[in-house]
Symmetry: C2
């Protein structure tokens, strides 16, 4: 144990996800020995982020304005909504440049173990948005894991009553991957979802 | 890329050692979604640490006072000085409870590639401490890597003129390890440093 505030810093850093006690110590000493600016800059950004960052009133994406830049962009296809778990999923999809519609950020996935049920997610807000008859398709892009699949199944059932097309992202082999190393579930999905090429 | 201050936070976190772009994003969103207190607490500790933490005037260990608790402790053996690279090495040795002497923190190791020569380390301060005739032994406990070994060799040469005993930590097999998996250098050292057991 270190003395006083050094140990406090190590403890606070150690509470961050993916930062173990050894990494926390390493980061703390790095900051101690760095130029004065770096620790101060980080502290300042941490304080600002909580004050300035809000969640878009429409889609739930992070933004510094009442609505996010995607929801404000009239050139986006207003008939498509892609449902994702987190804001970082929006960024991942934006990087592909494949999708030009709107998003809806749930704020997580259904996970009874973590105490997250449908009521903790922004599902009610999604239903409200879908009362707009302009919307034709909802693409469910939750993570391909247990919680994501449960959430997708729940949403599909909820949305099937609304007369809107509901679709899911394709499962299959990752591009650049090696068939030999694919797990059996992925490989099974790749077979089930095979597309005709002639 | 995210908007504004969120991206700034991700960038600042990504500058920390061992934190890549993905981890930085994960930590940023964790902090965004956490209780208000956690990001504020971290910010506050970051600001405090730079103001309050000093380096012990005697040994160079981190402390919030002019001298550290080890240097102030009169019950420690004042005739032994253990030389280490960093403050975290002091903590590692303290945890063993094997050593009850004093420390001297160099602040790094000789590394020409990183532009660290003997003048950048607290070697002059060590020589000053050794003018005290009470000190009988200097134990060099630098890291067992290239830079640490170079530093140890340099120090051994410097100290050999002073009539003080200079020793090095033993090299050998790690306890709990498997002989079969030891690298050849370590195994070679373990042979060279074998101790008689009858």
């Amino acid at each position: 144990m270190f003395e006083g505030v050094v140990q406090e810093l190590i403890d606070e850093l150690g509470r961050l996800p993916g930062v173990g006690p050894k990494s926390a110590q390493r980061i703390a000493f790095y900051l101690l020995q760095s130029e004065d600016d770096q620790a101060k800059k980080l502290a300042q950004v941490l304080l600002e982020v909580k004050d300035r960052v809000k969640f878009c009133e429409i889609c739930g994406n992070v933004t510094e304005d009442p609505t996010c830049s995607i929801c404000r962009d009239a050139r986006r296809n207003q008939t498509l909504i892609c449902v994702v778990e987190e804001s970082k999923d929006v960024q991942a999809i934006e990087r592909t440049r494949e999708f030009r519609g709107l998003y809806h950020v749930l704020g997580g996935a259904i996970s009874p173990i973590d105490g997250v049920g449908p009521d903790q997610l922004r599902i009610k807000e999604l239903m409200t948005r879908l009362s707009n008859p302009e919307i034709q398709e909802v693409i469910i892009a939750t993570d391909p894991n247990l919680e994501g699949e449960a959430t997708a199944t729940y949403l599909t059932r909820m949305l099937s009553t609304l007369g809107v097309t509901v679709s899911r992202l394709a499962s299959g082999l990752p591009v650049g991957g090696d068939l030999e190393y694919a797990d059996e579930v992925t490989l099974g999905r790749a077979f089930a979802g095979r597309t005709r090429s002639n």
